[in-house]
Amino acid sequence: MSGVLTFQETVLRLKQYWSERGCIIQEPYDVEVGAGTMAPETFLRVLGPDPYRVAYVQPSRRPADGRYGDNPNRLYKHQQLQVILKPAPADVIDLYLGSLKAIGIDLGMHDVKFEEDNWEAPTLGAWGIGWQVMLDGLEISQFTYFQQCGGFELDLVPAELTYGLERIVAFLQNVDSVYDIEWTRGVEYRSVRHREEYEFSKYNFELADIGMLWQLFDLHEKECQRLLKMPDALLPAYDQVLKCSHVFNLLDSRGAISVTERVRVIGRVRKLAVGVATAWMELQGAVA
């Protein structure tokens, strides 16, 4: 396999590339999230008037997407490389294409298309305009110009680049199953993660205690509301938003949320997220 990058080499190359372009290289946020967007490094940093550039890998948990490790392309937890460039530079697409070259993709030998795909996260009061990036028919990235976050219009428009790492590496390594990806020489993705996929699928679909989850949701919500009334506690408050969001996803995968509840619960999470965003904006003097 010489010449073809392993999973971790791909990650290292991308981090190196974005580091050279002025990004802070962060480590993953250590609370469960459904996407890199939810980590405070994106959700909070895109708000307000200060420029920011950051890149990090974010393990993203989507309980309903679990397939017990049986499906070659679907995972309960996948790794996203998340890049925020705030404000988006005029050559942002060229920078993105440069990152593909950095991981060994010869663009002259492939077919790249940018296809309309706008992004919206109702629980975060966030939306943006952008594309899915297609490489030889495979969606490898999501490219979004953020327009709103936490219910606020953004002062500076950030570009968010999200790379689906398993997909990209499976493509580069020409394997049909993510479990066959070479993580590092001689070690397959399967041996690193398969057991985790299996057990968490079982937990998410069968074992999670629904009554307890509802209790947790209420507790985290109350704690968030309590913290939002206090000074200097908005980052802890945001952790509570993330906890609520993850518990909501678990309840959803357990099939425990009915039609009417669903809309209401999303509304509750959104209210908390908007509360934190408002506090963050006040902290920066951006809201009177």
Binding site: D70, N73, P87, A90, W131, G137, L138, Q147, S258
Partner: protein, 642 residues
């Protein structure tokens, strides 16, 4: 001297389906601007790729013509002070003023000359606003809060008037004479002139002409039996700057999956044309259209084959998993699928649909028809709702009539789409759509103007088509006055704009009644035929006259007494009416016409004797009623309009 003009708005990738309306809008606004500022010239064409909107014009003047305008001042009689004030206002001195005599006397006057502006200056001033006024379904900001909005960021601008740059700026981007090539095949910065613009783009991997890109795809796939797909073709033309089709293959074993699923995956998810064999059957191939010039090492084909394999494996996986739970066992799960926030779940909807239908097969189909919404296959491929349910029902041993009804029950999806093929499918489709309409109207979700988020017009149109084209008995149960008005409009639209009946015939026939659509269609056809006969229009005019007479007399009684009828034209008319009673309209009109004409010629309706007058009015009312079971002929527009 007349000048050519070229505008290129360089952007990041614009969604394909928005491009044509935007180009038309740009062309209209630009031409209107030329006309408004009297710059001469006309737009010669527009074209676009995903990254550029281009407009060309010819025959522009070098500058606007100077304008002379005679301005009247104060009357000469008021004296020197007023004249000085007027001169100052005109930017001149009193000795330059002239006089003008009018009917009211002598006035000071001044010939004001406004120098025409250079065309380049007018364009430079007008273009930024004009470009930003192009209408898009959804716009964005990219330079920060409150800055200019466009569909995607504007990254470069070319604006040339003959060989001169028209200077302006939008969002920090200055216009110039430099374009950009294809992202991979071209150079990032290319100086151009109006003459070499197309050629320079071509050299740099961009085919500007959409027609040429289409031609390149069509000739590239001509050897491969692609399943024709105009919408997909349009998309591919507008998501590429240099399209090149390639043929890929998949394993034959996937052909065991329902072809509906395979085609949907290829078309909607991968934007591939599917391929047929010599017998018109689905072949294990696909056509992808690249946005580049070649696949020298076969990597693009290989990559696309790999993606398609994974997608087909997903579909197979979904099929297998979905079979583990029968459709009927999914009914309870529909309680968790929202139909509409105010209208509850699909479970509720299912119960309502079931009540609307009568026979056993239809009831069975109604119970199962929404159950596929909980399957993995439909969650992944939402376009296949209904179709998947039908396929699963068949696989699970439901009667053919039931599975076929489920399969078809979303049809017709558009004006071009066919109605369900079986009676069962038509019944189910009617019930589903009618329930949607009745319930939405109940909670006030009524379409207005261009707002129709629940596609109720499409549902209503579907109902009209199914009833008429499927020859169904349907009596619009539980219709509110608002819904009645809405349906009436859709019926009128259908017969007039889709079927091409004359608007007054449609109105005339609907005035007699419109809720039995089969009957209405029959009457329309008869009126259409009878209208071409020479006696028809005079009769229609007479009916209009009768209606007016009755209206003026405020009379609506049709009981008359034959013994009061006067021998002659009046009695003749009555006997003609009585003698032909029960015969079809077509054969009655000819003989009736001279009798009616003679009646109006010789008989005074407004007779002095009140009893006679009343009896004559009643005779006319009776005549009108008798002939109104086909149509209200007074609605027919005639040349003898009075």
């Amino acid at each position: 001297m007349s000048l050519p003009f070229l505008l290129e708005i360089g952007t990041e990738e614009i969604p394909d389906w928005m491009i044509i309306p935007a180009l038309n809008n740009l062309q209209d606004m630009f031409q209107a601007m030329l006309d408004q500022h009297v710059l001469g010239g006309r737009v010669t064409g527009t074209d676009a790729t995903p990254r550029r909107l281009v407009l060309g014009a010819e025959g522009l003047l070098e500058r606007q013509a100077d304008v002379e305008e005679l301005v009247l001042g104060p009357p000469k009689s008021v004296g020197a002070g007023a004249a000085a004030g007027f001169a100052k206002k005109m930017g001149t001195t009193p000795d330059q003023l002239g006089t003008q005599s009018t009917a009211k006397g002598e006035y000071f006057a001044f010939t004001k000359r406004t120098q025409g502006q250079a065309t380049g200056a007018v364009l430079a001033r007008e273009l930024p606003n004009l470009i930003l006024k192009i209408q898009w379904p959804k716009t964005m900001v990219w330079n920060g809060k409150g800055t200019e909005r466009f569909i995607r960021p504007i990254r470069w601008l070319v604006a040339l008037l003959r060989d001169q740059v028209v200077p302006f700026e939008i969002g920090g981007v200055k216009s110039g004479n430099t374009t950009r090539g294809h992202r991979v095949l071209g150079k990032p910065s290319i100086p151009v002139t109006i003459q070499n613009f197309d050629e320079q783009l071509r050299t740099n991997g961009v085919i500007l002409s959409a027609a040429e890109r289409r031609g390149r795809i069509e000739s590239g796939i001509s050897a491969w039996r692609a399943k024709p797909d105009p919408d997909l073709m349009h998309t591919l033309v507008y998501i590429t700057e240099f399209p090149t089709p390639i043929l890929g293959s998949f394993d034959r074993s996937y052909l065991d999956l329902p072809h509906e699923v395979l085609i949907t995956v290829m078309r909607h998810h991968q934007k591939y044309f599917s391929v047929e064999d010599a017998d018109g059957k689905l072949a294990p191939h696909f056509i992808a259209v690249m946005n580049t010039n070649a696949d020298a090492e076969g990597l693009v084909r290989h990559g696309n084959e790999r993606v398609l394999r994974a997608r087909f494996n997903d579909a197979r996986f979904f099929w297998d998993v979905d079979q583990k739970k029968r459709l009927e066992d999914r009914l309870e799960d529909l309680k968790n699928v929202t139909f509409q926030a105010k209208l509850g779940s699909y479970y509720d909807k299912t119960l309502r649909i079931e009540k609307l239908v009568v026979d056993a097969n239809a009831k069975r189909a109604a119970v199962l028809c929404k159950c596929d919404l909980t399957t993995d296959m439909v969650k992944e491929f939402t376009d296949l709702q209904g179709i998947v349910g039908g396929l699963y029902a068949r696989a699970q041993g439901e009667p053919e009539e039931v599975s076929r009804a489920i399969y078809d029950h979303y049809k017709p999806l558009s004006m071009e789409d066919e109605i369900p093929t079986t009676t069962g499918g038509r019944i189910l489709s009617l019930a589903d759509k009618w329930d949607t309409l009745v319930e939405c109207f109940k909670v006030g979700m009524i379409p207005s103007g261009s707002r129709d988020p629940f596609a109720l017009r499409r549902a209503a149109q579907g109902i009209v088509r199914i009833v008429v084209e499927g020859k169904m008995k349907f009596d619009f149960p539980g219709m509110s006055p608002e819904l009645s008005e809405f349906m009436r409009d859709r019926v009128e639209y259908y017969f007039r704009d889709v079927r091409g009946f004359a608007y007054d015939e449609v109105r005339a026939c609907m005035a007699t009644g419109w809720t039995d659509l089969i009957d209405l269609e029959g009457r329309l056809k008869r009126v259409q035929v009878v209208r071409t006969t020479p006696d028809f229009e005079p009769i229609a005019a007479s009916f209009k006259r009768i209606k007016n007479i009755l209206k003026q007399a405020q009379f609506s009684d049709s009981t008359f007494y034959a013994n009061l009828l006067e021998p002659g034209p009046e009695l003749d008319l009555y006997e003609e009416m009585r003698g032909t009673q029960g015969q079809p309209l077509e054969s009655r009109i000819g003989p009736l016409r001279p009798k009616v004409d003679l009646f109006f010629d010789k008989v005074l309706v407004n007779a002095p004797d009140a009893n006679i007058r009343r009896n004559r009015l009643a005779l006319l009312q009776s005549l009108l009623t008798e002939f109104s079971d086909v149509a209200d002929f007074s609605e027919i527009v005639t040349e003898r309009q009075s």
